[in-house]
């Protein structure tokens, strides 16, 4: 993790998000208030459509809320220009998706190195090699996504998210398409990353995965029902 990580905290205050639906709108997030600190591994559960993914997108500076404030150590990403917000994401935020979302024409190694193209704070080759090694992808480094198993794809996606040592990682159902072993492997890495002082926020339907975190957040109808800290 980079040195800035310990300084980052996330604060969401009154986050509201609606989507247009037919002639009206659907309120997907409703007055979300949340504070995350370093080392937090927050797992989110709730029924499908309760707003878990949208919450991750909004907190990940990908989707601007209709209302509310989002701050990272006093910086509000939605007050930045599109270009600066993209730069902010490349430095501070990592994403892991259920469908892996790897670039199909890049190899494992190249996919992992992708964030390094826009984050030129250092040469990421060494970090990439370490991640390939630690995630057990050494034999697959020069393979393309369609030559990988689901577990390998997700580990590649995880390595890509971890490359620039972001302060926070948002993972949306990262184990949803994985078998138990691969799922456990991914969760172990996320736990380890949170233990190193970063923040991880993960949406999941899996009970075991939900229990992995040190904070548990239950959502329904766009609202937080309860937040349990261990």
């Amino acid at each position: 993790m980079n040195n800035t990580t310990s300084e980052i905290t996330l604060r969401a205050d009154g986050i509201t998000k609606t989507y247009p639906s037919g002639s009206g709108t659907i309120r997907v997030l409703n007055q979300i208030n949340l504070e995350l600190s370093h080392g937090d591994f927050v797992t989110i559960s709730g029924p499908s459509g309760c707003g878990k993914s949208t919450l991750l997108m909004v907190l990940g500076a990908l989707q601007e809320p209709d209302d509310g404030i989002l701050e990272y150590n006093g910086v509000s990403p939605y007050n930045l220009s599109a270009k600066d917000r993209a730069q902010f994401r490349s430095t501070n935020i990592g994403f892991v998706f259920q469908d892996f979302n790897l670039v199909p024409y890049l190899t494992v190694r190249e996919n992992i190195l992708c964030p390094g193209i826009v984050n030129i704070s250092k040469d990421w080759e060494t970090r990439c090699a370490e991640l390939i090694e630690s995630l057990g992808l050494s034999d697959r480094a020069s393979h393309y996504p369609d030559q990988l198993s689901s577990g390998e794809k997700q580990r590649t996606a995880l390595a890509r998210a971890l490359l620039v040592e972001p302060a926070i990682i948002f993972a949306d159902e990262p184990t949803g398409n994985l078998d138990q072993d691969n799922g456990k492997r991914v969760l172990d890495h996320l736990t380890s990353y949170a233990d190193s002082g970063a923040t991880v926020m993960m949406a999941t339907h899996d009970r075991d995965a939900f229990d992995t975190g040190n904070k548990h957040l239950q959502m329904d109808n766009g609202s937080i029902l309860k937040l349990i800290s261990e």
Partner: protein, 425 residues
């Protein structure tokens, strides 16, 4: 890892659409090169035809001029200059005048900037008695033509060959009647002369004429440095009042003279020559105009053809890019999510189109290098590929147009909200 590698990998991944784009650019550039080749060939062919036609006309005019010169030589001089006090009735009666003027007049005229006459020939003529034969003879003393000093390279050749001192040229009656052949020495007015030429019968006063060097005749007639006429040939110039202009010009140079015109056939021939020349030039002009019109029409057709092909290519590349952006929307969303800004994404998409343009242009060049020399000559090839403007247009414009064609889909694709793309996914 860099953006360029992403671009190359993407092109390799979706090479089908890339190749279709390259073909579109190639067709576009090739159509332009072919149009240029056709136009250049037409222009070159037109220039060659014009050169041939001009050469032919020039030769015809030269031949005609030579013919006219020969005809005019036979016709003689048509402008006669006499002393001012010469009675013209005498001239028309006996063909020469009894009044004289200084021989230096001819030099004065030759050294002036006179333009209305060519070829000056001083002469001294008088009807004399050839005592040795008891024969009346028109004795004419002639000098070689006095060149007009201010004509430079255009100076005309002498129309009458001079007679050397000690020689005599005899008209038909004179040599025929007395059996005098060329080379024979005869006595004339007490002096010996060698017969230099014996003219055939002309049926004119020439038949009883004897020609000698001017100075000899001046001695025989005791009229040193005097002449009684200057013969000249009217210039081949167009003027409403030819004789008036000639009289005016000569009158200013030699005020003590009078001028008459004879033998207007020479002028008629000259006018005929001018007419032929004008007709020939008019034909060339008409041909040039029709050829130029043809080339203009070809240019318009070629321009329209190239524009249509270019528009279709631009549309095609634009469609391919739209299609590619739509197919790549998930990757665009992913790259956006991990921090690629809109400018990075636009750069990736536009660079792909740019490479399409470069590759298409290169293919078109390669094909042209083979085809153009086969169907057209080297001049056409040089006019296309050695001409800077064409080369620049051919090198940069297709790539620029390919980038322009990709611009809108690139911007639309790059500015899509990655969250929307990923949520839809």
């Amino acid at each position: 890892m860099n953006l360029f590698r992403i671009i190359i990998r993407e092109i390799r991944y979706s090479k089908g659409t890339f190749i279709m784009g390259v073909i579109a650019v190639s067709v576009s550039v090739l159509s332009y090169i072919i149009s240029l080749s056709i136009l250049s060939h037409s222009q070159s062919s037109f220039t060659n035809k014009m050169l041939v036609m001009s050469g032919d006309l020039k030769k015809e005019i030269t031949d005609l001029e030579n013919g006219i010169r020969k005809s005019m030589k036979g016709l003689g001089f048509n402008i006669h200059i006499y002393p001012e006090n010469q009675d013209l009735a005498v001239i028309y009666e006996q063909g020469y005048g009894e009044q004289t003027m200084p021989e230096e007049y001819v030099e004065t005229l030759a050294n002036s900037k006179i333009v209305t006459v060519n070829h000056l020939l001083p002469r001294l003529a008088q009807m004399v008695k050839w005592e040795e034969r008891d024969q009346s003879v028109l004795l004419i003393g002639v000098r070689g033509e006095v060149p007009i000093a201010f004509r430079g390279e255009n100076r005309k050749k002498a129309l009458i060959d001079p007679v050397k001192i000690g020689e005599i040229v005899l008209g038909y009656e004179l040599h025929n009647k007395y059996g005098l052949e060329v080379g024979r020495i005869i006595k004339f007015m007490g002096k010996e002369f060698k017969v230099a030429a014996a003219h055939p019968s002309r049926g004119t006063v020439d038949d009883i004429t004897a020609w000698m060097a001017l100075s000899t005749v001046q001695d025989l007639l005791k009229k040193p440095s005097l002449i009684n006429g200057i013969l000249a040939l009217e210039c081949n110039c167009e003027s409403i009042d030819r004789l008036g202009d000639i009289k005016k010009e000569i009158g200013q140079i030699l005020p003590n003279t009078k001028i008459i015109e004879k033998e207007s056939k020479a002028l008629a021939r000259a006018e005929a020559r001018n007419k032929v020349k004008r007709t020939g030039e008019k034909q060339i002009q008409n041909f040039a105009l029709s050829q130029k019109q043809l080339i203009v029409n070809q240019s318009i057709t070629a321009t329209l053809f190239v524009l249509i092909i270019a528009a279709l290519s631009i549309g095609w590349i634009s469609y391919l890019t739209f299609s590619n952006v739509a197919n790549r929307s998930v990757e665009i969303g992913i790259l956006g999510a991990i921090g690629f800004g809109g400018s990075n994404l636009i750069f990736i998409i536009i660079s792909r189109a740019m490479l399409m343009g470069v590759a298409g242009t290169a293919c078109a060049f390669a094909i042209s290098f083979v085809l153009v020399p086969i169907f057209w000559d080297k001049k056409v090839f040089s006019s296309i590929f050695m001409e800077l403007t064409n080369l620049l247009a051919l090198t940069f414009v297709p790539t620029l147009l390919a980038c322009c064609a990709a611009w809108i889909p690139a911007v639309k694709g790059a500015l899509k909200d990655p969250a929307v793309i990923l949520r839809n996914e």
